[in-house]
């Protein structure tokens, strides 16, 4: 019955420390040059990305926001291969190939901007 919240505690207690090494988001106008978004969505679930980042990459206490406006593909791959210490588990090419990560990125690129001025989120 171990409930040791190592990762999440690190993120919650020190949000400014846990996230600054994440690569910067892509420009808003970036288009998926490559990748199969449908397969990427399947891989996003199969490989448990959603567990920390949410089903639509919205992020949360356990993982950074990935969408909309995801990291540039190269930065995403680089980060997944060599994440910040104490952060997400590294995914080697044996576990997820560059092609699969490209599909995931393509999926993230399809996620639209959220609606603005939602009444329930008014101050």
């Amino acid at each position: 019955m171990n409930k040791f919240p190592l990762l999440a505690l690190a993120v919650l207690l020190l949000p400014a420390i846990a996230t600054p090494q994440a690569p910067k988001a892509a420009a808003k106008s970036a288009k998926p040059a490559v990748g199969n978004a449908e397969n990427g969505k399947r891989l996003f679930v199969k490989n448990g990305c959603y567990q920390c980042h949410g089903f639509v990459g919205q992020g949360g206490s356990a993982g950074a926001r990935l969408a909309p406006r995801p990291f540039p593909l190269e930065a995403l791959i680089a980060y997944v291969r060599h994440p910040a210490p104490g952060g997400m588990p590294p995914y080697t090419p044996k576990v997820m190939s560059d092609a699969e990560l490209t599909d995931v990125w393509a999926y993230l690129m399809t996620i639209p901007e959220p609606a603005k001025n939602l009444p329930l989120l008014n101050p």
């Binding site: 171990n2 567990q51 089903f55 992020g59 909309p68 104490g86 588990p89 609606a115 329930l120």
Partner: protein, 645 residues
């Protein structure tokens, strides 16, 4: 600080009962006279059995006693009543059957009122939640063996969370008093030993006078910072046999003044804080009372210093302009007030070991740490809740809330007009930074707004939409499990708006603690809300029945991510560390196939249940229906299928 209590009345009740009782062995009137006068004993007038035997040539033949209208447990109830304890949570057990009977009949089932629990873990966790709203303990009654074994993890949570519990254990110490096998396996030489590592004090009284004294002492110890659980053993023989002791009285309860910090150390702390360019106040389990919030606001506003509230208690208003706005790594002075894991707060993992065994300080060179904590007054060694040694520059072992008035005054004395102007400028910048964080939170909450499963941000926003005009109380931990969304979106500003979490990370706390907190809120008419994790509920869901049976109004919203999600991530971490991929990490960590129908579960226990809700558009109307039920004084549960975090 003498506690206001109905002691005199209770003593009179006891005396009235004693005078009217039919206890076969003693005349009650000398005892009554002794209590009225406050004398310790008046027993010399009655000859002993041995003296009688000497006079008559042999002991009298045993007389069958069919009834005992004045059992020792009645006196125990008088003692408990004198402490002002409102409720007693218990799963029934034979080792405390007499005390149980005295509570419901002799005591009139009021002060304390018996709350029927279906698991001792629920009893203790309910008391945990109650104390965090009410600031004082209620009683838990359990077997000294199997009951306490069930209750031990919940006791550990309360210990780590610095919460007072008043646990009374039934036991049969005298081997000749045990009737059969069950009473052998339900008896123990030292009942409290099982939890001694994580309780503050215990005793096993051998007389009723001893019980009275230790019962009052136990309450005083539990309520002296650091607040912690205490254990009192009620021996079955003392409970069940007629009262034979003379001169019984109930000692006066005087609560101890909470320990304040040394005046010199407090002055030194004030100097460091006033001189600091970028101070940070970190509040852990600071606010023992509603006044703790006011004091922290006053200190922060006087210094124009940002506050990082660890949300282990309701310490600081969430929308205050000094809430947040600075980080540990930017601070030149960090003031920790009853902080949990100060070392962890000031260190980060390094690349040398990705699992976090290697670490380094994140403090700026020369930054000063000040720690004010009552936990330093009560360390134990076996369980490691004390964390790493924090290397504070100024360590003040004292109750932080009690120390704040002196610290505030010391700060005010040191502030010059020039310094006040500089601090005011800092305050403006911090307010802007704090507002930016809140604006960003609202923007981020919109992400995944219409997603299925429902995002925890959407769930929190829908809930806030229903609560913001109510007198509400959120009684579940919402830090990691729901990405802190309520804390980021709602306006927390009252002491009962939030009660922090479990303390010992022992899952199974959430549901019963919420019911206990709702019980404490009931007399205030507050709308109590519990965001209920599915894994947590499955440890002891029967507490839903307790809520229904006792008409405890509580709105529970399931955060149903169908798994022990923290452990999903832990196994993912290990799987990728082993370079095997994480696609099997769900094995042993998820709660699906079949999915549990929590609405039906609630209904089975007599609670209004709706769901599962998967479409976010259905959530608002379901909440309205459930709140209507809660406002009628009953519990309700909405099953919401949610994103993992």
């Amino acid at each position: 600080m003498a506690k206001s209590k109905p002691t005199a009345v209770d003593r009179r009740n006891f005396l009235k009962g004693a005078a009217a009782g039919a206890a076969a062995l003693v005349a009650p009137s000398p005892a009554a006279q002794a209590q009225q006068s406050g004398s310790r004993s008046a027993s010399a007038v009655v000859p002993s059995n041995a003296a009688l035997a000497a006079d008559t040539g042999g002991p009298p033949a045993p007389v069958e006693m069919l009834t005992n209208e004045r059992p020792g447990s009645d006196f125990m109830v008088d003692v408990i009543k004198s402490l002002g304890i409102e409720y007693c949570c218990a799963n029934p057990g034979s080792s405390f059957r007499a005390l149980h009977e005295s509570i419901i009949n002799y005591g009139g089932n009021k002060g304390p009122e018996l709350i029927t629990c279906c698991h001792e873990e629920s009893s203790v966790a309910m008391a945990h939640g109650f104390a965090k709203i009410d600031g004082k303990p209620i009683m838990v009654m359990a077997h000294g063996t199997v009951g306490l074994q069930h209750a031990s993890m919940a006791s550990y949570n309360a210990y780590c969370d610095r919460v007072p519990l008043y646990i009374v254990l039934g036991n049969i110490l005298d081997v000749t008093y045990r009737r059969g096998n069950v009473e052998w396996v339900h008896s123990v030489q030292d009942a409290a030993s099982m939890v001694r590592d994580y309780t503050k004090w215990d005793d096993s009284p051998v007389s009723l006078a001893h019980f009275a004294e230790s019962a009052v002492r136990a309450y005083q110890i539990a309520m002296t910072p650091p607040l912690e659980p205490v254990v009192l053993v009620a021996d079955a023989k003392l409970q069940e046999e007629p009262i034979t002791e003379f001169g019984l009285r109930i000692p006066k309860l005087t609560l101890a003044a909470p320990p304040q910090g040394d005046s010199g150390a407090v002055t030194e702390a004030a100097k460091l804080l006033v001189a600091a360019e970028n101070p940070l106040i970190v509040a852990g389990r600071l606010a023992r009372t509603p006044n703790g919030i006011k004091l922290l606001v006053e200190l922060a506003e006087t210094l124009r210093a940002p506050v990082y509230d660890q949300r282990l208690r309701m310490n600081f208003p969430s929308r205050h302009p000094l809430n947040g706005g600075n980080t540990v790594k930017d601070a030149d002075v960090v003031l920790g007030l009853e902080v949990q894991d100060f070392w962890g707060l000031t260190h980060q993992q390094t690349p040398l070991n990705r699992l976090g065994m290697q670490s380094k300080s994140i403090l700026k060179p020369g930054a000063k740490l000040i720690s004010v904590s009552s936990v330093d007054l009560n360390h134990k060694s076996n369980y490691q809740d004390f964390g790493r040694y924090d290397e504070a520059d100024l360590n003040i072992p004292a109750d932080a809330e009690a120390t704040l008035p002196a610290l505030i005054e010391a700060v005010k004395r040191l502030l010059t007009a020039d310094r006040k102007r500089a601090l005011a400028e800092r305050g403006v910048k911090l307010a802007a930074a704090s507002q930016r964080v809140r604006d960003r939170d609202r923007q981020d909450a919109a992400l995944g707004w219409d997603a299925t499963p429902i995002s925890t941000a959407r769930m929190s926003a829908e809930l806030w939409g229903q609560l913001k005009n109510e007198d509400w109380s959120l009684v579940s931990t919402v830090g990691n499990f729901v990405s802190g969304w309520p804390l980021r979106l709602w306006d927390f500003n009252q002491s009962y708006h939030y009660i922090g979490g479990h303390g010992g990370a022992g899952i199974g706390y959430g549901a019963p603690a919420a019911v206990g907190a709702a019980l404490a809120n009931k007399k205030h008419g507050r709308l109590t809300v519990n965001i209920q994790c599915d894994g947590d509920l499955n440890y002891a869901p029967s507490v839903l029945w307790t809520a229904a049976h006792h008409r405890i109004p509580l709105l529970s919203i399931m955060h149903n991510n169908r798994g022990y999600h923290q452990e999903v991530m832990q196994v993912q971490l290990m799987a990728n560390r082993a370079n095997r991929g994480i696609d099997r990490a769900h094995i042993g960590t998820t709660i699906a196939d079949p999915n549990i129908d929590y609405a039906k579960m609630a209904q089975a226990y007599g609670v209004h249940g709706e769901g599962p809700i998967t479409d976010p558009a259905d959530l608002g109307p379901a909440l309205q229906r459930a709140i209507a039920v809660v406002k009628r004084g009953e519990p309700a549960l909405i099953d919401v299928v949610t994103q993992p975090r």
